[in-house]
Symmetry: D2
Subunit: 345 residues, 4 copies
Amino acid sequence: MKNVAVVGASGYTGVELLRLLSGHPQAEVVAVTSRQYEGESISRVFPSLGGYFDLKCEAINVESIAARADVVFTALPHKSAMDVIPDFLNAGCKIIDLSADYRLRDQQVYEQWYQAHTSPDLLTEAVYGLPELYRSAIKSARLVANPGCYPTSVALGLAPLLEGQLIACDSIVIDSKSGTTGAGRSLKEGSLYCEVNEGFKAYSIANHRHTPEIEQTLSQIAGQSIQVSFTPHLLPVDRGILSTIYASQTKGYSTAEILNIFQKRYADEPFIRILPEGQLPNIAYVRGTNLCDIGLVADQRTGRIVIVSVIDNLCKGAGGQAVQNLNLICGFDESAGLSAAPLFP
Amino acid sequence: MKNVAVVGASGYTGVELLRLLSGHPQAEVVAVTSRQYEGESISRVFPSLGGYFDLKCEAINVESIAARADVVFTALPHKSAMDVIPDFLNAGCKIIDLSADYRLRDQQVYEQWYQAHTSPDLLTEAVYGLPELYRSAIKSARLVANPGCYPTSVALGLAPLLEGQLIACDSIVIDSKSGTTGAGRSLKEGSLYCEVNEGFKAYSIANHRHTPEIEQTLSQIAGQSIQVSFTPHLLPVDRGILSTIYASQTKGYSTAEILNIFQKRYADEPFIRILPEGQLPNIAYVRGTNLCDIGLVADQRTGRIVIVSVIDNLCKGAGGQAVQNLNLICGFDESAGLSAAPLFP
Amino acid sequence: MKNVAVVGASGYTGVELLRLLSGHPQAEVVAVTSRQYEGESISRVFPSLGGYFDLKCEAINVESIAARADVVFTALPHKSAMDVIPDFLNAGCKIIDLSADYRLRDQQVYEQWYQAHTSPDLLTEAVYGLPELYRSAIKSARLVANPGCYPTSVALGLAPLLEGQLIACDSIVIDSKSGTTGAGRSLKEGSLYCEVNEGFKAYSIANHRHTPEIEQTLSQIAGQSIQVSFTPHLLPVDRGILSTIYASQTKGYSTAEILNIFQKRYADEPFIRILPEGQLPNIAYVRGTNLCDIGLVADQRTGRIVIVSVIDNLCKGAGGQAVQNLNLICGFDESAGLSAAPLFP
Amino acid sequence: MKNVAVVGASGYTGVELLRLLSGHPQAEVVAVTSRQYEGESISRVFPSLGGYFDLKCEAINVESIAARADVVFTALPHKSAMDVIPDFLNAGCKIIDLSADYRLRDQQVYEQWYQAHTSPDLLTEAVYGLPELYRSAIKSARLVANPGCYPTSVALGLAPLLEGQLIACDSIVIDSKSGTTGAGRSLKEGSLYCEVNEGFKAYSIANHRHTPEIEQTLSQIAGQSIQVSFTPHLLPVDRGILSTIYASQTKGYSTAEILNIFQKRYADEPFIRILPEGQLPNIAYVRGTNLCDIGLVADQRTGRIVIVSVIDNLCKGAGGQAVQNLNLICGFDESAGLSAAPLFP
């Protein structure tokens, strides 16, 4: 049994972490923080949690929280995260950080896309928390940088192809669509119901901050520098990311042959489902779970492979993957607290 | 550990039962039936279940299923249910029937709203499976008639008032709104996405088949015959029922006083949450769970009490309550398999 | 041809007015105001209007606007509206006010539900802009108080029954459901997409500010004081109000007889459609129009009539009715600019 | 004034045509056909049209319809369309065909993607009804093949680039997302509300029938054979198509320079809005209209241009473009009946 804290609990990532942790057999939530709701019951902030938690939101007091918690999930905006993480580490906590602050290994790249980094020394220590790629390093990490939602869907969809050198590295086009929880719970006109509902749009074309994170992971897998075209879109649904990925094949394999490569690569992965030929994934089929569903077609006509990779952005794309990382660093069963079936419909 | 079968697994109630049973610690699903999908994997019918079940849909063969299953959930349309239930009982199975066939105790009433009943003798044996009202009878039942979704939300919202004789029995108006899973998975023009989305309508005014079921339960609680106005509406959401119930008060109590009566009545109930004064329920806060959230206001101006009762129609209104009944008839913890927190957002 | 101004153009009522006025054959929009977007093009605020208007948002300058506009639509919050309306009147403009400031004739009632009134003398002059009830008074009005969305749906649904003394005045229960545009475009957590989508809730039970407005109109029609139970709900759709209204019948008429009374009452009304027996309205079928669809059932079992009245809350419930009032005070064809068919799906 | 008929009126394309024609100043609908609803009022089939049309659905009788109608819209499935179109032409009607039957000029290509063609001689006569590309030919056409929804969005988004030889023809990747009206009104499990809502999926990867239509138009513009990767997706909204199009630039132009080329190309087009740099389109901003909104970014990092092209699939993608073609072949103002502003929200 480990005691955990959720720092920054009043956003959608926070409530997802709490939902999952409420059913975790070996983790107990001992503290939740929220500047906005300090002093208020977390069950008042999220009535869905009524009866599941009897905790009041606290201000962030590192000493106090570190005295109670073994592992701290930081679900803060970037910048705010690195303001407190070094102190939590010094106080002896392990950290699973859901912000972007420790995902990029190259300080310069971080500073180009975000702002000055205040603890750059930790960038090399932090382990990128994508278990399917970095499982063993995560197990012994003190600071896990939980991946972004888009990068998770993309890396899992491309890893077998890059590992097998099956695609041309300069040909990758990534067209991603995310549910609106991805935009967070802060008050913006663009997040209002009537602005999102019955609408659909692309945003941040060619300059979304997940681009360098995607490229870092793909480059590392490929062993060479990769640049991608990445276009995110906003879907009028609560949850789910679907990434449609295009790349030119180098070997002329059939759909069946490539599916076979995926199946072998992910055979032991508890959260990845490779769909049989002719089936394609739907965000609705992974709702509320840590699953990643992948389907693909090798188009002989154009020579491109089209991969469709689907996750729940709040779960495998945030809180679920964070719990998976908790399980790894604590030596729990990797699926602990994460085995419930998808909610469909 | 009990072996269970789901007869009629390819509808929304079927997939909900399977979702819940996949995480049940003491129940194992040994058979699923579907006429439409006979021979096909249930995970192909519902890709969400991929990796959770390795079962093929069977035709209904009572002998074969009874040889494997201790308890059978029948998730068939009315009429089809009573065609097979007597045989399952004779074969020694316990039955939790999610159809309407054994909910009404009075054969004549059943035949007036449905059709001729082919096993009327079982009507008196069947126990109405609303645990908050009939828990002890359920525990020893051989045949549980799992309540309708609307009637569940209404009975739980009115029971404390009727038990306490706090409202005028001829004053009850029930305005209910249900998510679209309530319309089932069969192909009807009115269930198409573009007919439901961005729409809202009332239907079956003054003649919905849940009316006699509601009146039966309310009359039984009150000890006198009760007639209600009941209007169902179709909500453009997947899941959830919200019933807004109006009744004239007989005693002039305040909101706080009535809430207190509800809190006492349901103090030991694991699935009922009475909201504090000033808070009102939302279907989003019970999504995917067996919870019933109740809020209310005693309007001194008009003398009416307005109760708002909220459930997930597929869960507490169908599959979840069925699992709760399974737990009762098998002597399991009543919350087994039903303790996961709501999925919000 | 009349010149009109839209004061408070950056909300959902504003954009709806502009949408309708863009197609009006005899009205030209000469000014739009918005404090928040002063100096910005209205087509930048609402990209949907690109190419339809070439106007910049102004601050409210009564003198300047009055010099250009014959009629001013005020789409401001209550309180803000009465801060400027007397000045516009003094400057010679006619006013169609979409706020609540001049809807209640009784200053005391207004002040009980809102705040102190700063131009109470205008309360008696203002004409309540529900053409189906007050057409001739509107035609000569200088100040039209455009009705609230809920009150419009309710008054049209009950008028024939109250006029004919067909229902018991103390028996009225109104259960209304509104699309989310009704909550406005201001930034509130409860208006975020992920808080509304897949959710449904009641709010302001027994204390919604439209209650006195509803009661004023119903009382006036009935010639006696009427109190109602009124419960609004928030629907996860953009547009539409559906009010389900219950009242005890005094005469035992059949559904057909009551429908006949409605058909006669509204025979000459261009915007009211009485549905034949057996059909019920859906908000989807009036989308984007000034129509009000009404269906009903006389339930012989309970003695109650159940009326379902449906409008588009932004159109007949706000901007469309305002244009209808414009047509009346300007002597235009009452349907000018309002004849487009509903957008379905 | 022209008399028109809508053959195949009971689908979503049919109701959209009727909606638009109800407000057309120079067209009168004299006949509607529907096999499924023969004898029933079209206002009963689509209650939204109540009061707008007083027509009963007929069976298709070419002679009878040709005696009344000058122009016939055929909104039938492919195959069914070519079963009747030659007869209508022989009977002297002009035809605007919304099916796929006459869109492809090459019989062999048609037969490879569809089935045997029964009037291949008409393939060369038919004019592809995309006014922005083929306006003058349309004006004198007897048979207009109204373009598919996806192809419309793609052709308008790529035409200026191909005309200017600004992109590499083998680099085109098209990722399109369509609202659910695009799936039609026929009864399919995949079109049920609960299967679509809160879901998102790709479908028909590398084998969607709009692919040859897209390639035909692009090849014609470019003057060379073009093959594209085209992936359609199903959006949980009623209306709207957004195509995100990727292509490698040949000239290194900036976003501003390319936008300038688009603005010039479409300067006189009444239905195309080129968004300024920094703005991107949203399907919500063209809802219910014949508009096509285009935004783009030239990504210097990858050398690709990303174009986002947005239409209402039922309007510019079907019924609206059909009315635009009606206007052209009848010599009406090209915007007649099509000038209403978008319905937002």
